[in-house]
């Protein structure tokens, strides 16, 4: 029994211990579970927190995307505007300017429809200039919409841009424009060139998602300004161009007239030359007879004549000589002018010619007590000319110098080399030539009005002939002179190589 009791006691004790253990372990487990629960709660909380953060990230990202989209749109817009501007501002033809606004550019700006109108001053109507995205019948409706003209005029007057956004308050007008142009959003900006007729630019889109903001309005306003500026430039250019064109036309006309006159002058001049030539020929034949008969009479072979007759005959003879001289000079001038006289150009020794001429004139030089000198350097010695003609030039010029140089005067002949030519300067210490006569002395039959000329006879053809001869040698002749201090005649003659 005692055993049994003790066993029961033992079991009871063990039971108690077990219960105590169980209770303790349950309590401990509960504690752990609580800890786990707290852990789970913590995790859950942090997960929820993270989820909240995720929401924040998504919202920020959405904002960022929106901003970036707008930025992209603006950048594309600016880039397009720059390209467009370049195309527009380099166009100088008015009807080409609007053609530069191409659908591609427009699309990059966010629009697919556009039109532009210019106000015709005469009829007070807006005439379409471009049409992108509209059919012919759409355009007719837009053109004939009566109220729009007033809208355009007020935009031009106030220099103001409007858009579907800025017209938000004015629902009536906003809807009307949308309906007529068949768009959802639009911008209308005035074209304001300072020169000529003004107008408006319309751009629009059917896209319901496009919202016009201030940036869009600014872009289109800039585009409209560029178009206006380009129109102005083109019109100014057109004006300038037309003025220049008119001027050119006038010059051309005048040139034609002058050419015509020149032709006539040439014909007249040729007729004159021909006339002189034929008259001279006609004169020479009878002149030869007169001179011949006078000579025969003077020899006395036909009987002696009283001295009075002889004296008159002498005069006839001398005058005939002069006349023959004149006629010959005239003939020569006519021949050179008409190109009938051919210069037989050959290499000549200038010094030899000058010496010869001075030798020929030595009697007269001595008679008039005029000293002569010349200086022809070796490098200017060889000339290419017709010998007999060039001698004539020298005889004429030196003869003239002699004629107008008083006693104890000096005549000098100097030569120097130019590029491919030789220049000769024949100076005298004579009475000189008044300035106003200096050009005319080379004209035919011109004689300087002075005492010597009234006394000494001359034809007035000598220098004219000289000029013709020099020019036929491709040379030039001119004179430098001052009344009272002599003259210098200069001319050029080609150099012989």
């Amino acid at each position: 029994m005692a055993f049994k009791e003790s066993l029961i006691n033992l079991i009871g004790a063990i039971g108690v211990v077990a219960v105590i253990y169980l209770v303790i372990s349950i309590v401990l487990k509960m504690e752990k579970l609580k800890q786990f629960q707290a852990e789970v709660d913590k995790l859950k909380k942090s997960l929820d927190e993270m989820d909240e953060q995720a929401k924040l990230i998504v919202r920020t990202d959405m904002e960022l995307n929106k901003t970036q989209e707008e930025l992209d749109k603006k950048m594309t817009g600016l880039y397009t505007l720059q390209k467009l501007s370049r195309a527009i501002t380099t166009t100088l033809e008015e009807n080409q300017i609007f053609k530069m606004v191409k659908p591609d550019y427009l699309e990059d700006l966010g629009f697919e429809k556009a039109c532009a109108f210019l106000l015709s001053e005469k009829e007070k109507v807006f005439v379409p200039q471009i049409n992108i995205g509209y059919l012919q019948q759409d355009m007719e409706i837009i053109k004939s919409a009566p109220d729009l003209t007033d809208v355009y005029l007020s935009l031009i007057k106030n220099e103001k841009t409007i858009s579907s956004s800025s017209l938000r308050q004015n629902i009536l007008l906003n809807d009307k424009i949308r309906r007529i142009f068949k768009v959802n959003s639009f911008v209308i900006s005035p074209l304001l060139p300072k020169e000529g007729n003004k107008g408006v630019l319309f751009v629009g889109t059917e896209n319901e998602e496009t919202l016009i903001n201030e940036g869009d309005e600014e872009l289109i306003t800039i585009l409209a300004n560029q178009l206006g500026q380009a129109l102005e430039n083109a019109r100014l250019f057109e004006k300038t161009w037309r003025a220049q064109h008119d001027l050119e036309k006038k010059v051309e006309e005048r040139t034609r007239e002058l050419t015509h006159v020149l032709e006539e002058v040439k014909i007249i001049s040729k007729r004159k030359t021909d006339f002189i030539s034929s008259v001279s020929h006609e004169l020479r034949t009878p002149l030869t007879s007169i001179k011949g008969y006078a000579s025969i009479l003077l020899t006395g072979k036909l009987g002696n004549m009283p001295s009075e007759i002889k004296e008159r005959l002498d005069k006839i003879n001398r005058h005939s000589d002069e006349l023959a001289h004149l006629v010959n000079d005239l003939l020569d001038i006519a021949r050179i002018e008409s190109g009938r006289m051919i210069m037989k150009k050959e290499a000549l020794n200038l010094k030899g010619i000058v010496e010869e001429v001075l030798d020929l004139l030595s009697v007269q030089l001595k008679e008039r007590q005029v000293e002569s000198s010349f200086n022809i350097p070796e490098e200017a010695n060889a000339i290419l000319a017709d010998r007999s003609q060039i001698e004539r030039v020298f005889i004429n010029i030196v003869g003239n110098a002699l004629k107008f140089t008083p006693a104890q005067g000096k005549i000098s002949i100097m030569a120097h080399k130019l590029d491919g030519a030789v220049q000769l300067d024949i100076s005298d210490t004579g009475c000189g030539i008044p300035e106003e006569a200096q050009e005319k002395i080379f004209e035919e039959f011109y004689r300087v009005d002075n005492a010597i000329n009234q006394e000494v006879k001359g034809t007035g053809l000598g220098l004219a002939l000289v000029k013709h001869i020099i020019e036929a040698h491709n040379g030039k002749i001119w004179v430098k002179s001052k009344v009272g201090s002599g003259s210098t005649f200069s001319f050029t003659i080609p150099q012989a190589t």
Binding site: D48, D51, A54, V58, D72, N207
Partner: protein
Amino acid sequence: MDIGVGLSIEKDPILAAKEAFRLAKINILPGQRIDLAIVFSSIDLACTTLLKTISDSLEGAPLVGASGAAIISNKGIFKHGLIILLLGFPKGAYLNTASVKDIKAKTTIRAGEELGEKLLYGCRDTRRDLSIIFSDGLIDDSSRLIDGLQERLGRSFPLVGGSASDNLRFLRTYLYLNREVLTDACIGVLLGGGKINFGMGIKHGWKPLGKPRKVTLSKGNIVFEIDEQPAVKLYEEYLALGLSELKKQLKHISILYPLGIYLPGEDEYLLRNIVSVENNGALRFQGDVPEDSLVRLMIGTKESCLSATRQATAETKMGLYGPIFNVAKKEIKYFVLVFDSISRYMLLRREATKEVEIIKEAFGKDTPIIGLYTYGEQAPLKAINYRGRAYFHNQTITILAIGG
């Protein structure tokens, strides 16, 4: 294999067709047969005149293609343009093209089955290697189309495809088959026989954000409840937008923050774009979202997007070169076909051309590239559990390189 690519940015369809074809033809030897033409264009060029002009020069070879918000070529990305790829396959290669119209009336799953049957017609005994499909980008449960197709072609049959797109108006997308412009349709190309090698890569780069959620009620592509709440609440909560505002901005939100479905074994989530928000708070997606799947809101950055492109390119290259490791790489001619999700274009914006640069860097700067911006892509999943079965994807760059 003979490969020629031609690009044109002419506005007139006839001029564009002539220019692009002329350029593509330069690389095809004279007298060489053309077996297939793949044509992608922007929607302004999507017209029968374009296709007739090209087909007139093809001497009977089939033409397949689609419209897109932009086209991709070796020379960059073009919002307006036309790209033509001319292919002459090696001897023994087998090619079949087929189309199915009126998808909405037939249901997408039936349309997929029909396309599969048509593609198999006459080639049941040939070794089949790959199918490429183009589908209308506005079909709202494109997953079903693949399901139907796989019923006929086999679940693990390699399939790559893209859904046509328009200029982000989501109004109408176009498919090209020979001389016809189709909508509400899909087109398939089946390749087999011959010595054709191919490699493919598909990646998106979007990352999960926030708590994992569970789809508690869904049917096909419509998700009614997430965590026993109306599905739309997920978006309302994260974006702090009311229902009406959410509906208004849906196109953007759907592209930037798609729903990601967790796939065990895959390193990326399978993405789904929202098509519409229903009034009862349900969300309609472009592809299936199975009940009980774990889903998360996804977010993408330019960098993660481009790094995905790098990975997809590397995988494609591995696939192309892998089986012919010992062959001198220079001897094979290949081209790269790209289906690039329009969402990537919207995220990358100015940097979108970097994707083309990445591909050129990997394959060589003169590699013929022809690509299209899409509203959805079809490509196999790699993880072993999926046995290479193709799924409908959103937001990815899907690259297919074919050589021979």
